[in-house]
Amino acid sequence: MAIRPGGELATRPLHFIWIADCSGSMSTDGKIQALNNAIREALPLMRSVADDNPNAEVLVRALRFSGGAEWHVKPTPIGEFKWTDLRAHGQTDLGYALNMVAEELRIPPMSERALPPVLVLISDGQPSDDYIGGLEALMHEPWGKKAVRIAIAIGEDADTDVLQQFIGHPDLKPLQANNPEALVRHIKWVSTAVLKSASSPASQAAGVPLLTHMPLPALPPASDPTLVDDVW
């Protein structure tokens, strides 16, 4: 009879937060639909990465921002996470959104012990409010500073300078998604490779400079330049 004591390997929570721009401009050219689709596409892969990781308890949530911001999905274990469609209208209140993320990263409600949170900001435009104040509030929180911050720019109108400030590291650039295929690729990369390295880094190669305090895997292959501007 197989009886052994104890339970599963001890884990730490890993908070994965989508911060999605739902401003009016996201409703043009099917951008918001493409984002909904990309996240749905990536979910099974994200589940499988979490399933293979014995060290992390992955909790996913999503914040939508337009005029103001609101939690679209509350913290949910990855196994139970379901995506409901985002809709686009209104302004681009990024500052409001970052303030809300900052509040959630405060201890409490955050636990004292965790893995570095992963924050993924997806935007197609320019902030319409005081985003600097929001970013300062975020970076004021220890968990905000420690977070692995990734940004995806949708289309050519996205303000990459703002996204770069959010990332806060000169060598790590916003991922540019000029078409739905590139968006799917980037979303898949953050939900698999980045999720993996933030919780249980894969084997390490010598001489690879660290872009953040967690090793990030190689970026996905650059999109085919002939595709740029083709779709939106």
């Binding site: 009879m1 197989a2 009886i3 052994r4 004591p5 104890g6 339970g7 599963e8 390997l9 001890a10 730490r12 892969l45 293979d52 990781n53 014995p54 060290n55 004292e112 012990r113 965790a114 893995l115 570095p116 220890p142 968990w143 420690k146 690729r185 898949k188 990369w189 698999t192 249980s200 880094p201 894969a202 084997s203 390490q204 190669a205 010598a206 001489g207 660290l210 305090h213 967690m214 090793p215 895997p217 190689a218 292959p221």
Partner: protein
């Protein structure tokens, strides 16, 4: 998220045969693995990301393919593969058998093997790395993802062998996987070698038997954000064994590290001593690390000291170093257990359970560990099932001397009744049954 080779693609093996990509199996840091069909033989095909498909990787694979696998558990590169329409290259290897489970399954308790299967898996792991190191090769990236085991038998398979290299000869750039990397490699003072493999092997064995990391105690509990600098401190700059007998500063914290607290006291002192050496002296001095042959012997002994609780059936370990008159209770049901019937073979002891089998290494120290064909097994008497005996499944006749001094032959196929005081001559080695 496969993106390198579309399903249905045909690549060419180095021997000139077409190989068709059938399904995507998984991706890692270096490339993607597919199930592929090479002339009606189903194999695994690993294809490298373009930036990983380097001449150095290719040369290394050629060396490994030429050398061949160190032993059967290695799913070794068989031949290189290339394709006209896709950049880079890949290699073919045997496919892992589906009933093998990953160590992640063990950590997440999705598989519940017996202690016997785990001890066997540990022995086989030690044997596999001994075989690899004997060839002058080192693995460099021992971790959860690379080892699979059969939860019924404890047989193992070792995957991802493309980073194996001649010890200290090639700098492939692979440092290992955090939590498994030797402290001197974490600190950047040494490159991976067979000596650092020994550290990673010890960590893997500790995980196998404790479902916990040997350095994660109070110091881990005090870390808020478990990021890379924190990991480097815990596993590199300030490593301290959670059961260091001379420094209690990193003991497991109840509520956070319960597995370590639950498993550690179950094991015989000799095994705990070995882990202690591996993670105290062996943390700082690679020459003090526990060698594969020592692990193999210790885990073989662990396997031999398993005794089932007569009340609840749980596996307990009979500690041969424990005084016989010291009371012993089952860890699971807490009921007292009398000392089990044992067979003393030289310095070793084998507990005689209803399912005990003796293998070549038990009866001849020079024989290789092989759990394929037992030479003896405990069996009930066919007419009197309450009487248990040791059945001779070898090809040689044993000679026994009973407690009263009578000698008898036990020909192949016959059994002797298990009773304290019986001496058995198995060829060169004499054993004695005692309680």
């Amino acid at each position: 998220m496969h993106q390198l080779l579309p399903l249905g693609t045909t690549v060419q093996s180095a021997s000139g045969h077409p190989c068709t990509v059938e399904t995507f199996l998984g991706g890692g840091g270096q490339g993607e693995v597919y199930r592929a069909n090479l002339v009606d033989r189903v194999l695994a095909l690993k294809w490298y990301f373009p930036e990983q498909a380097t001449p150095a990787q290719r040369n290394n694979l050629e060396v490994l393919i030429r050398k061949g696998p160190p032993s059967a558990p290695f799913l070794w590169p068989l031949e290189l593969a290339a394709a006209d329409d896709f950049p880079g290259f890949g290699y073919l290897m045997p496919l892992r058998e589906p009933h093998y489970k990953g160590l992640v399954d063990l950590m997440k308790r999705r598989t519940e093997p017996t202690f016997r299967a785990l001890a066997t898996a540990g022995m086989q792991l030690a044997q596999a790395f001994l075989d690899l190191h004997t060839q002058g090769l080192c693995y460099r990236d021992i971790s959860f993802g690379n080892v699979f085991f059969d939860p019924e038998t404890g047989a193992i398979q070792v995957c991802d062998n493309d980073n194996v290299a001649i010890d200290r000869a090639v700098d492939s750039g692979v440092l290992g996987t955090p939590r498994f990397i030797a402290p001197e490699v974490v600190r950047g003072e040494a490159a991976p070698s067979t000596q650092t493999d020994l550290f990673s092997l010890s960590v893997l064995l500790f995980y196998l038997l404790h479902i916990h990391h040997p350095l994660e105690g109070r110091r881990e509990a005090e870390i808020k954000c478990f990021d890379l600098p924190a990991m480097n401190r815990l596993y590199g700059d300030e490593p301290l064994f959670i059961f260091d007998p001379h420094d209690e500063g990193n003991r497991p914290v109840p509520g956070l590290h319960d597995n370590a607290l639950a498993y550690w006291p179950l094991y015989p002192q000799s095994l705990r001593d070995l882990f202690t050496r591996a993670f105290t002296a062996g943390l700082h001095d690679p020459e003090e690390r526990v060698r594969e042959s020592e692990w193999r012997a210790a885990l073989g002994q662990l396997r031999d000291t398993i005794r089932h609780c007569e009340h609840c059936g749980a596996e307990n370990f009979h500690d041969v170093g424990r005084p016989a008159d010291e009371p012993f209770a089952c860890w699971h049901c807490d009921q007292g257990l009398a000392p089990p019937l044992r067979l003393r073979l030289g310095r070793e002891q084998v507990v005689l359970n209803r399912d005990t089998e003796l293998f070549p290494h038990h009866l001849d120290r020079l024989r290789r560990y092989d759990f394929g064909a037992p030479l003896a097994s405990v069996q009930p008497h066919p007419q009197h099932p309450q009487i248990w005996g040791l059945n001779n499944r070898s090809a040689t006749t044993w000679v026994i001397t009973t407690a009263e001094g009578t000698t008898r032959d036990v020909e192949p196929g016959r059994s002797l009744t298990l009773a304290a005081g019986v001496k058995i001559r198995f060829g060169n080695l004499e054993g004695e049954i005692h309680r």
